[in-house]
Amino acid sequence: MKLLIANGYVIDPAQNLNTGGRSLLIENGRIAGLLERGEPVPEHTHVIDATGLIVAPGFIDMHTHLREPGQEYKETIATGASAAVAGGWTSICAMPNTDPVNDNPAVTRFIIDQGKAAQLANVFPIGAVTKSSQGKELAEMGEMKNAGIVAVSDDGRSVPSSSMMRRAMEYARGFDLTIVDHCQDQSLSAGGVMHEGRWSLILGLRGMPAAAEDVDVVRDCVLAKLTKAKVHIAHVSTRGALEAVRRAKHDGLHITCEVTPHHWTLTDEAVSEYDTNTKMSPPLRSREHVDAVLEAMKDGTIDAIATDHAPHHLDEKALEFDQAPFGITGLETAVGLAFDLVHAGLIDLERVVQMCSTNPARIFGLTDRGSLRQNAHADVTLLDPNLEWVFDVSRSKSKSRNTPFHNRAMHGAAVATIVGGRLVYLHPDYTRINQPKQKVQISSFSLRA
């Protein structure tokens, strides 16, 4: 079965490709090549008309909480994967803080099997760094790697002991695994429920100082230098942390980092009504830090956009602010919020693709992904930069509804998602691009003004 994505505007930073008028040919779940303008459509080929759309290598979310096994009332792997493809993500990396924790190959295999059964996004498990993510003993990284993990993390918390973190880094190197660290010095952030600053004082809520993140990121950079390990800082949110990462990169360390859409979109002022959908960890920061995040997206310090999709049940979020759990959903809003930055002229689309696909694939060593080069897995995200829409959480594919972005007007969206050559998501307003037996001429392309 062949699939032709015709007449789109192809952006593939891995090949330095940024061009209209090409058509992407997919065969047997792999990229067969790019057809030039005027080339004939091969026989027995299903055509998707991507005129006016951006064709990008499939987006990879490095940071997703899928809640299965153990908390299926919040999300299952299938519902999470369904939300992922609706948001343009072809691959999602499942954080290990499930119940039980993914700290052994049996859980790893279970997650992979559930992901395959859902037949939507690729699901790549991340294993725990330490057993039960308790920070005491190393988890079976080698066995989990054999079972299919793509990285290790004790996400939700950092590894508090510096000596344990050092051992983990040294050990992970032997399996070529990147350590993803949720950097937060727990002795500094203990009891905090929002960013410490003017707003936490006004609201009378216990704050988590930016220093808690800074201290831990600096520690990880120092240890990465000592161990030469590959370290990926999850959801950076502070100026100090970004300065440390910038310096570490300059010094040639293997340090990378990601940012979430909420950390560049909202400030701690969003907490002012005590809406528990503004409660997450790391917390929404003050303007100074948000500005630093935007700068770092621009100058390349930030490698990736990740959602930190963290579904929680309505009942859990309906508690008092300090009692409610941390986290918000993010799979279906991330791309729209990334387009905000493009339309504001802050970053270009190529940089978005780099942060959502090219770099995540490289950092986690996902072979034959993150690019549209020949023989790569046929994971493709089609984007319409001009679609104006409003996010309506009641139509979310996720099981949970905890988002601060309900009713937010968006400009730009993922409209079709192809995983392994299969069209797994098509935006309801775009069914016209997927008509069977349509006759399409491969023609020149022009972006709508």
């Binding site: 004082l201 006004i202 009378g204 809520l205 009504e273 508690l319 008092e320 300090d322 009692q323």
Partner: protein, 317 residues
């Protein structure tokens, strides 16, 4: 501009205009007289139901609200709920919705979680009065403090007020800082560095000074407000010992020598005698601690009257 108070809830002082505060104080003043009568009752809220929903222990505030409601002829119901096992019991939301189903005219809530009254105000229809939420606000305390100051100093504008002690955890400090600066007072705060963050200066646009040294906050003060050490909100040590606190941050007669000659002393209670305040001061001639309690009833009568069906609410329906 005619001063009125047309809000549905009283959640905090921060969002109020100066005119609204003055109107609340004026209304309270007119109710003060009721408590001096032989028969301390007016029919203003006859047939109205006020629920005091207290999730945190309180003697003074709960009694004060109850007396205030009864002197207005409302039916007051007190509910004390333990929050020690939040996950085991009914959620705040369900509790409130159940109470609402019994059609109260007002819910007075005290809760250890900041924002709990906002949460209720969003989710239910009854007018909500915040009787203290975590470290956030305690609006009726600030109002009764202001009423007490006005009673003794005849003004608030231009006064120098020192607020000393555990500022960080204090809802009383926050509500008072908003109220006093809105009415034109100059407020200085002082206490141990661990309990007086510099960022407090950003709480209001002007009129607030953070003093590094405790005594400097009291210098020249017309009013000295002492805050309680809130052991229940401190899960870590913010100072080495009660002994050291009493020596360095407890208000002693020698501190008052630096205040204005006719300075008055206030404390929201309950006091830790010998810790943040010495008994000489607490029981001394400058202490207005019991006046505060008396004024608390008048202030709560005013707030209940305005929110639970006094004049304007009737027109509204």
């Amino acid at each position: 501009m005619e001063a009125t108070f047309n809000r549905r809830h009283l959640l905090g002082i921060r969002e109020l205009e100066a005119g609204e505060i003055v109107h609340l104080l004026d209304t309270a003043e007119s109710f003060r007289e009721v408590s001096r009568r032989d028969i301390k009752k007016v029919p203003a809220l006859r047939g109205r139901t006020v629920i005091n929903l207290f999730f945190e222990s309180s003697t003074r505030t709960r009694t004060s609200f109850e007396i205030a409601a009864k002197r207005l002829s409302a039916d007051a119901i007190n509910i004390s709920v333990s929050t020690s096992s939040v996950t085991k019991g009914e959620t705040l939301l369900d509790t409130a919705r159940n109470l609402e189903a019994m059609a109260p005219d007002c819910i007075v809530i005290r809760h250890s979680s900041a924002g709990a009254p906002q949460h209720l105000a969003r989710m239910t229809n009854a007018p909500i009065i915040n009787a203290g939420d975590g470290s956030h606000e305690h609006p009726t305390q600030a109002l009764l403090d202001a009423l007490t100051i006005r009673e003794h100093k005849e003004r608030i504008e231009g006064l120098k007020v020192a607020i000393v002690g555990d500022i960080l955890h204090s809802r009383v400090a926050r509500s008072n800082i908003y109220l006093l600066t809105k009415l034109g007072a100059h407020v200085s705060v002082g206490g141990p560095g661990t309990l007086v963050p510099d960022e407090f200066a950003e709480l209001v646009e002007s009129g607030l000074h953070i003093e590094k040294h405790f005594e400097d906050a009291i210098e020249g003060a017309d009013v000295v407000m002492i805050l309680r050490i809130q052991r229940e909100r401190q899960d870590a040590a913010f100072f080495p010992s009660m002994r050291e606190y009493a020596v360095h941050y407890g208000l002693q007669p020698r501190h008052l020598e630096r205040a204005a000659p006719d300075a008055i002393v206030m404390h929201p209670g309950p006091m830790n005698r010998g810790v943040e305040i010495s008994s000489e001061i607490a029981d001394g001639s400058r202490s207005l601690i019991l006046d505060q309690v008396t004024n608390g009833v008048a202030v709560r009568m005013a707030v209940l009257y305005l929110l639970a069906g006094g004049s304007h609410a009737e027109h509204e329906e």
